[in-house]
């Protein structure tokens, strides 16, 4: 997707680079002990797999016989393996969840700041906030700091009401917004019981922070280049995505990673042995506005 932006090299450009790397590539390849035509064909089809026009299973089907012939036992994976893998996997795909320990939260707002930095949210948009409430009178009082991201509800009211299906539940448990489809009606904002959604009014920190507009975060894995007036996601609705783009690279959400008191835990709720699954079963666990039946995937420990 990075290829789409004009500032980057196009796939053809890479081929050109490679073509001029050595004077005659075929000569060099012929010196190799392995079948160079097979390698070139595989490279061609691998590109198809990457751009989505060929399935990885089909790729393996086509090449595994020749690969076994070429490399013998050194060749490790075949089409059967991947098939079995994907079947076996389908039951245990991760379903992300978060646990926040309120006793550990000191209300420092690091998560809020790191979220703003990671997702490069404009003024007025905060995917995560920490709500501070004081209950009781001195000396018998308590202060609660309640960090509040999007709850990624399992029965999300926002998804129920969106007229265009621009916001929907993904299999991994995350509720996503397709900003290319969103019409900006803000019905979902009115429907969310947790106030988790914000509207991108098109404002920017450019005045205070030179270069703010130059990079946007690749939310939901979509690289959008510079922030420009009138370009998506402006004038659409935005919210916390559990840092889906970070999950794709195998990293935790920014708020979890930076929390100074280690109050946040993140992981796979489908895996009964994960830390989050265990903590979510603790007697201290509760969810916000449980009575509404929205089934939040963010669990708090009181």
């Amino acid at each position: 997707m990075a290829f789409n932006s004009n500032n980057h090299l196009q796939p053809e450009d890479y081929s050109k680079l490679a073509d001029h790397f050595v004077p005659d590539s075929n000569k060099v390849l012929a010196a190799s002990p392995y079948d160079s035509q097979l390698g070139k064909n595989m490279a061609r089809d691998a590109r198809k797999v990457i751009n989505g026009s060929l399935k990885i299973e089909d790729f393996h089907k086509v090449y595994s016989a020749s690969l076994i012939k070429e490399f013998g036992d050194q060749y490790a994976s075949g089409p059967m393996d991947t098939n079995q893998n994907s079947k076996a996997k389908s039951g245990t795909d991760p379903k992300w969840g978060m646990v926040i320990d309120l006793k550990k939260c000191i209300g420092c707002d690091t998560c809020t700041v790191s979220c703003k930095a990671e997702n490069r949210t404009p003024p007025g948009v905060s995917y995560n906030v920490v709500l501070e409430t004081i209950k009781g009178d001195f000396p018998n009082f308590s202060i609660t700091n309640l960090p509040k991201p999007c709850m990624q509800c399992d029965n999300p009211p926002c998804v129920q009401v969106c007229p265009t299906r621009a916001t929907y539940k993904m299999e991994n448990g995350i509720v996503t917004i397709d900003n290319d489809r969103c019409i900006g009606c803000r019905y979902c904002m009115v429907a969310c019981p947790y106030g988790s959604r914000s509207y991108d009014f098109g404002t920017s920190y450019e005045q205070e922070m030179a270069g703010f507009n130059d990079v946007t975060s690749p939310e939901y894995g979509v690289e959008r280049g510079k922030r420009k007036k009138g370009a998506i996601p402006e004038e659409t609705v935005r919210k916390c995505s559990f840092c889906y783009h970070r999950l794709q690279r195998g990293e935790e959400p920014a708020c979890v990673e930076t929390c100074i008191g280690d109050a946040r835990y993140f992981g796979d709720m489908n895996d009964p042995n994960s830390v989050v699954s265990k903590l979510a079963a603790s007697p201290r666990a509760f969810r916000l506005k449980e009575e509404l039946g929205t089934k939040p995937r963010v669990v708090y420990l009181r």
């Binding site: 009211p157 009401v161 007229p163 489809r181 900006g184 019905y187 009115v190 947790y194």
Partner: protein, 429 residues
């Protein structure tokens, strides 16, 4: 008698004065419309939603309130017209077509308001293409389209006989009518029976469409929101419908009486009186419903709902509740329509209707804004919302457009029945 008076009136009425009045009307309305267009372009199109006072806490504001106001006017006046076309109550025949025309115009206005409230007009077709079956708003968008088409077809058939009469003229109106009637020369009795039947069918299809689809449905856009306990009640769509009837009846009375006054025609007193008593009936039903809505709300002791009620009734915003919702929309008109002396006077009934029309704006604002101002979770800030200048100018511009459309409709089409006052025909000849 009536006829003679009409003609007399016409002769005595200084023609110039009427012309001058019309000029003033057009100039002022075009100025307001022009300013509105200017503010739409500089605000909505150049700055987007940033030009409004909306925020992430109060994401819906005045435009949404005006949108449900006009949808309500449309559904209400349509339901009134079904008394004529669906149920054959000839008594109200005189307001039938103008009620249909105002239903169409108000519908267009309402849709325009909600269109302006959408952040990405370039994506708007997505709401028609991608239908989310669980979304009330998605259903509404489709209902609105069907309903608008039905209204236009119904208006066409209700005035076809007169269109054929007008088509005999040689001016622009005549040409337009000829085009619309496909050059049909004569309106036979068979046509008349057929059209009556068509109108009846459309009126009857229209009733569930207007009640369940358009207005009840618009009410459910709000009522299904469990995030807003104040709105989340089964009574809410019904209150929507009944207040649509209140405002629609008031609109029809106001249009008819004002039109008669401007044209110096005799007002059909008995019809206005019975419309007036209908209005009072609707107001009473609305008061009962609102009473139970608040009663149950208070007994629920739910923190957010109590907070919202407090915002509505006892906060710096509560003038809109006490003066507009309670005073203008319910209490004052009800008193006027109950006291014997005032309920028989046309002017008082007109006054009550105009009050209702102003008051219901407040009702609609109170449906949308206070519940959003109330924080959803302890520790979140209260919202603060007033419409800013740009929003007001835009709204007035669109309302001016509504009047322009209505007046043009009245001018181009035979909205008043031609044979009910014959001097109408003589005007065209």
């Amino acid at each position: 008698m009536i006829l003679k008076e009409n003609i007399d009136n016409k002769m005595h009425a200084p023609k110039q004065k009427n012309g001058k009045l019309e000029k003033i009307y057009w100039i002022s309305i075009l100025i307001v419309f022009g300013i509105g267009i200017y503010s739409i372009i500089t605000g909505y199109f150049m700055e987007g939603m940033e030009s409004t006072n909306l925020s992430n806490i109060v994401p819906w504001g005045g435009w949404i309130a005006f949108y449900i106001y006009f949808i309500g006017l449309s559904a209400g006046s349509f339901l009134l017209s079904t008394l004529v076309y669906g149920f054959g109550m000839e008594k109200f025949e005189k307001i039938g077509r103008s009620a249909l025309l105002s239903a169409i115009v108000c519908m267009i206005t309402g849709i325009l308001f909600v269109f302006l409230d959408i952040g990405r007009p370039d994506h708007v077709m997505n709401s028609v293409i991608y239908w989310n079956v669980t979304s009330t708003m998605s259903w509404e968008i489709h209902f609105y389209i069907v309903y608008l088409v039905l209204l236009i077809v119904e208006l066409y058939f209700s005035m076809r006989n007169d269109l054929i009469v007008v088509a005999k003229n040689d001016n622009f109106k005549g040409k337009l009518s000829r085009f619309l009637t496909f050059n049909k020369k004569e309106y036979t009795d068979i046509d008349k029976v057929k059209d009556k039947k068509r109108l009846k069918i459309m009126g009857i299809i229209g009733i569930p469409l207007a009640i369940l689809g358009v207005h009840g449905g618009t009410g459910s856009i709000f009522a299904v929101l469990k995030a807003q306990p104040y709105l989340n009640s089964a009574l809410f769509p019904l209150i929507f419908i009944i207040s649509a009837l209140v405002s629609g009846t008031a609109l029809s009375i106001a249009i008819y009486v004002i039109k008669c006054k401007v044209k110096k025609q005799q007002v059909d007193t008995s019809m206005i009186r019975s419309l007036g008593s209908m209005l009072s009936l609707f107001i009473v039903i609305e008061i009962i419903m609102v009473w139970y809505e608040f009663l149950v709300g208070f007994y629920g002791l739910e923190h957010e709902e109590l907070g919202t009620l407090q915002l509505i009734m006892g906060s710096p915003y509560s003038w809109s509740f006490w003066i507009f919702q309670m005073g203008f929309a319910l209490f004052f008109p009800l008193v006027i329509l109950i006291i014997k002396k005032t309920r028989e006077s046309i002017n008082w009934i007109l006054g009550a209707s105009v009050m209702v029309l102003i008051g219901v704006v407040g009702v609609r604002f109170n449906m949308v804004i206070p519940t959003l101002i109330m924080p959803k979770i302890d520790g979140m800030p209260y919202g603060n919302y007033y419409m800013n200048l740009s929003e007001w100018l835009t709204s007035f511009g669109i309302i001016a457009m509504c009047l322009i459309l209505y007046t043009i409709g009245e001018k181009l089409f035979p909205i008043d029945e031609i044979d009910s006052h014959e001097n109408g025909v003589s005007k065209h000849e």
